[in-house]
Symmetry: C2
Subunit: 102 residues, 2 copies
Amino acid sequence: MQITRNSIETAPGPGDWFTGTVYIDAVAAPSEPSRVQAASVHFTPGARTAWHTHPNGQTIYVTEGVGRAQRRGGPIEVIRPGDRGSSSPVRSTGTAPPPTAS
Amino acid sequence: MQITRNSIETAPGPGDWFTGTVYIDAVAAPSEPSRVQAASVHFTPGARTAWHTHPNGQTIYVTEGVGRAQRRGGPIEVIRPGDRGSSSPVRSTGTAPPPTAS
């Protein structure tokens, strides 16, 4: 087992992916043959993603705070800790929780 | 986006996978062509997995508590919140954190 330690490093989300301030910490990077990646994403209040697609699908798991998620043309849904959201190849956007203290 | 709400349901981990009491909540189920699955696993104090392998690899992300992880023949490593552990096709075992109140 290869351990990667928690650190004070974090990366602001790119401005063309997000409106508002978002911090992204990698959890798992893809390693062949897998294409899976996982990240812990903290949304500051009001921050949200730009409309985007997930050609290989995506699962969101809410760990804290309260957010909103929407599939384009669908209802806005409130998501809370423990809720899971799955996207097949669709457009989706999300707005989420306050930041965590590091 | 398909939302699955948090609930008070949880599943005890099977006795042949774990020693001690562990609770498992599905986060993502595999959907073709993906083979990815994700689960939130809570270990009660002292609970641990049996030695096992991950033919397609696995990533652990510690969200709370303090645990121990080991690759067979390797050192026992203490893992804490925010730490990530990745296994390629290897044997590993883990002991982890106290339970969360639901």
